[in-house]
């Protein structure tokens, strides 16, 4: 089906959350995501090994201790099953999901400009979570640029060399500005602003 459905859902969820809960809660969530990402980037393997060894210990303790014959086979994960770089995004997503729950449950309703700013920061959070999960789908050009930059084959390409990025950004920006500047029906220039005659 759609490759972009998860991305759209994540973006919608975070934007809606930001719109309903305002800027402050989204900035706190952003802080939590930044912190998590820094921890994973700097010591992800050791952190996951700690979680893994603790969970293995508890699992074995609860399922017959050190007697393998008492454990079912399907509860015998090998050491290293969790401390795999491929599972790093899962930890990040878990933090994001818990953060969303906390923000939704404990956050207060926002209105006005705070809602708008919250929606923008929420969209930023959603974009980041999506990028961690499936970078090649979210920003295919970003990965290409990174790969081209890291290889010594050709010169680094910047946004200016990719007019398609400018086209997409311009259309998004135009829609956003246009919608924000629409005047409500009650403010229009037509006869509908004139109250009906009495009597």
């Amino acid at each position: 089906m759609f490759n972009y459905l998860p991305f759209t859902l994540i973006m919608t969820l975070f934007t809606m959350l930001g719109y309903r809960r305002g800027t402050r809660s989204q900035l706190m969530l952003l802080g939590a995501l930044v912190g998590t990402w820094l921890v994973i980037a700097s010591s992800g393997r050791s952190l996951l090994r700690l979680i893994e060894s603790t969970s293995l210990f508890l699992l074995r303790a609860g399922l017959g201790g050190e007697h393998p014959e008492l454990r079912p086979d399907y509860f015998a994960p090998q050491p290293g099953f969790l401390a795999d770089p491929n599972t790093y995004p899962l930890l990040f997503v878990a933090v994001a999901a818990i953060g969303c729950g906390v923000v939704w449950h404990f956050g207060t309703s926002a209105a006005g400009l705070s809602s708008l700013r919250g929606a923008l920061v929420g969209a930023l959070n959603g974009l980041w979570v999506s990028y961690v999960l499936f970078p090649e789908r979210v920003l295919p050009w970003a990965r290409r640029v990174a790969e081209e930059s890291s290889s010594a084959v050709g010169p680094t390409r910047v946004v200016g060399d990719r007019p398609e990025v400018l086209i997409i950004a311009a259309v998004f920006g135009l829609i956003f500005l246009a919608v924000r500047w629409i005047r409500r029906p009650g403010m229009g220039p037509g006869l509908e602003n004139i109250p009906p005659p009495e009597g």
Binding site: T8, A178, W181, I182
Partner: protein, 181 residues
């Protein structure tokens, strides 16, 4: 400048004028419908066309897609479906936003820009499918290859190849803006 790119620019200008006349709140509704049409064609166009070919071909006792006019049939399907979607988008209120443009020059500029974006989407998508199916217009003597240099440089910037990965995101964005504003 050849006829094809000239026609493309003229169509964009005409759509910009339509935008000025109609006002961009209506144009944004048309944009949403046009994007939905593009999404349907890019995601399911081939499936729909194959199903139609199976159903109609079984009735007629042949396969249209295996005939010498396969390109023409494919172009007719894609462009016909898309033009029908555009007609529906511009016919009546459809998904139009409620409200009025801001007064003065900003309002006129936004109207023209939104109209031009719609023109880019409509004329660019039609051109994309003409190019994809090798310009079947030449069957009627309406086009003679090759493309000019300018037209060949413009081809990578047609809306379908650029926007295809982001169509669903654009549609969700417009509907979200409509709900949240």
């Amino acid at each position: 400048m050849g006829a094809l790119e000239l026609l493309w620019f003229v169509l964009i200008a005409v759509f910009a004028l339509i935008g000025v006349v109609r006002g961009y709140p209506k144009e944004l509704g048309a944009t949403a419908s046009i994007l939905v049409g593009m999404l349907v064609l890019t995601e399911w166009g081939e499936d729909i066309l194959n199903s139609l070919d199976l159903a109609l071909g079984a009735a007629a006792g042949l396969s249209f897609l295996a005939s010498p006019y396969a390109h023409f049939v494919q172009a007719l399907f894609y462009i016909g479906f898309f033009v029908a979607m555009v007609f529906l988008a511009y016919h009546g209120e459809t998904l139009a936003f409620r409200g009025y443009p801001p007064p003065g020059l900003p309002g006129v500029a936004l109207n023209a820009l939104n109209g031009a974006v719609n023109g880019y989407l409509v004329a660019g998508t039609v051109w994309y499918y003409l190019d994809r199916f090798d310009y079947p217009l030449r069957l009627f003597g309406l086009f003679s290859p090759p493309l000019t240099d300018l037209a060949q440089r413009l081809l990578p910037f047609l809306p379908v190849p650029i926007l295809q990965p982001y169509l669903l995101l654009f549609i969700a964005f417009i509907f979200l803006m409509r709900v949240l504003r």
